[in-house]
């Protein structure tokens, strides 16, 4: 009944692309990675919501004011902020093609990240030792989940950082490595943004309550 529509030359009209067009490697990686970060943001949003709901349920246990040590948190915040700026300098060196200097900045970033994690581990260990572990109350469960998830992200970032440093040492600053370093850069700065939320809503506002 209906004929296949053809052009003047007798070729069938194609309503969609028949041949796969070219996708340069890594062309959409940065946007894709941004999408991942946004979905990760939702995970943290849900954990923040859980903390907001459960943060007042002490079950007769300690309140935030009694257990949070703000000077320690301030030092921790500084560590993460320093690691952000050193990673930024590493990216500038990368763009200038100065591999050795970039590696040096990445080492500094890793050390600051490690310092952050060590302080957090110390804080967690102290809390658990004082009997304020995650099983004590709903407040502490949600606290450990939220802050622990952030710490886990930083741990993963550190493993990723070391992996990339080895990759760069082996293969140099090839486009693939540059792309990976840019992704880690976004990940690392993103974790710093999440930490702003953590120290504000959990530590500072917890102390105010």
């Amino acid at each position: 009944m209906s004929a296949v529509p053809v052009t003047k030359d007798g070729e069938p009209v194609s309503f969609y692309e028949i041949d796969e067009h070219e996708h340069p490697e890594g062309n959409s990686t940065m946007l894709g990675f941004w999408m991942y970060l946004m979905s990760d943001c939702l995970i943290f949003a849900v954990l923040f919501a859980a903390y907001a709901v459960l943060g007042n349920s002490y079950a007769g246990g300690p309140s935030p004011k009694e257990i949070f040590e703000l000077p320690l948190v301030a030092v921790n915040t500084a560590m993460l902020l320093f690691s952000s700026i050193t990673y930024g300098f590493a990216m500038l060196s990368m763009e200038g093609g100065r591999q050795r200097i970039m590696q040096m900045w990445l080492v500094f970033t890793g050390l600051f990240g490690l310092a952050f994690l060590s302080i957090e581990m110390y804080e967690f260990a102290t809390l658990i030792h004082e009997g304020a572990g995650p099983t004590r109350s709903a407040f502490l469960s949600s606290f450990f989940t939220l802050v622990g998830t952030h710490g886990l992200h930083v741990t993963m970032g550190l493993i990723w950082l070391v992996t990339l440093m080895v990759q760069v040492q082996k293969h140099g600053l090839i486009p693939a490595n540059k792309r990976r370093l840019l992704c880690l850069s976004m990940f690392w700065h993103f974790l710093d943004v999440i930490w702003i939320g953590v120290f504000t809503f959990v530590y500072l506002m917890g102390t105010l309550r």
């Binding site: 890594g26 062309n27 959409s28 990686t29 940065m30 946007l31 941004w34 999408m35 946004m38 943001c41 939702l42 949003a45 849900v46 923040f48 919501a49 859980a50 907001a52 709901v53 703000l70 000077p71 948190v73 301030a74 915040t77 500084a78 902020l81 952000s84 700026i85 930024g88 300098f89 990216m91 500038l92 763009e95 486009p175 540059k178 792309r179 840019l182 976004m186 700065h189 993103f190 710093d192 943004v193 702003i196 939320g197 120290f199 504000t200 809503f201 500072l204 506002m205 102390t207 105010l208 309550r209």
Partner: protein, 127 residues
């Protein structure tokens, strides 16, 4: 935007240096860093010294500083702008912010009313 070469209107143009992501400069990173230090130090100082007598005022101030610092990080460290990736990163960010807002306010609102309307333990025991 400090980078005039950012390929904003032609994302598929051949450019070998990156994938359309914007760059920072030494100056922009340092600027972001110092702004962050200030925006972190003030709320910590305010809470630790008890500069505000009213806790609700202090909470509001602390939250405003956090919001400002998040914007600083987005611009100077994550190089967010309306032009990166042809505007798609900004679209994704706006969607996420809306989603986060609904999740947070919805959870807090619903759970607060659940708690407020819950039958007291004693009343339930008397029934």
């Amino acid at each position: 935007m400090t980078d005039p070469q950012a390929p904003a209107n032609n994302p598929h143009a051949d450019h070998d240096h990156d994938n359309g992501a914007a760059h920072g400069t030494r100056g922009s990173y340092l600027k972001g860093f110092f702004l962050s230090v200030i925006l972190t130090a003030i709320p910590f100082w305010a809470v630790m010294t008890g500069a505000f007598k009213e806790p609700s005022t202090a909470a509001l101030v602390v939250m405003l500083f956090a919001a400002a610092q998040i914007v600083v990080h987005m611009i100077y460290f994550l190089h967010m702008s309306g032009k990166s990736e042809g505007g798609w990163t900004l679209m994704a960010l706006i969607f996420t912010i809306i989603f986060v807002f609904i999740t947070l306010t919805g959870s807090i609102w619903v759970m607060y009313h659940m708690n407020a309307n819950m039958m007291p333990m004693q009343a339930a025991a008397d029934m």
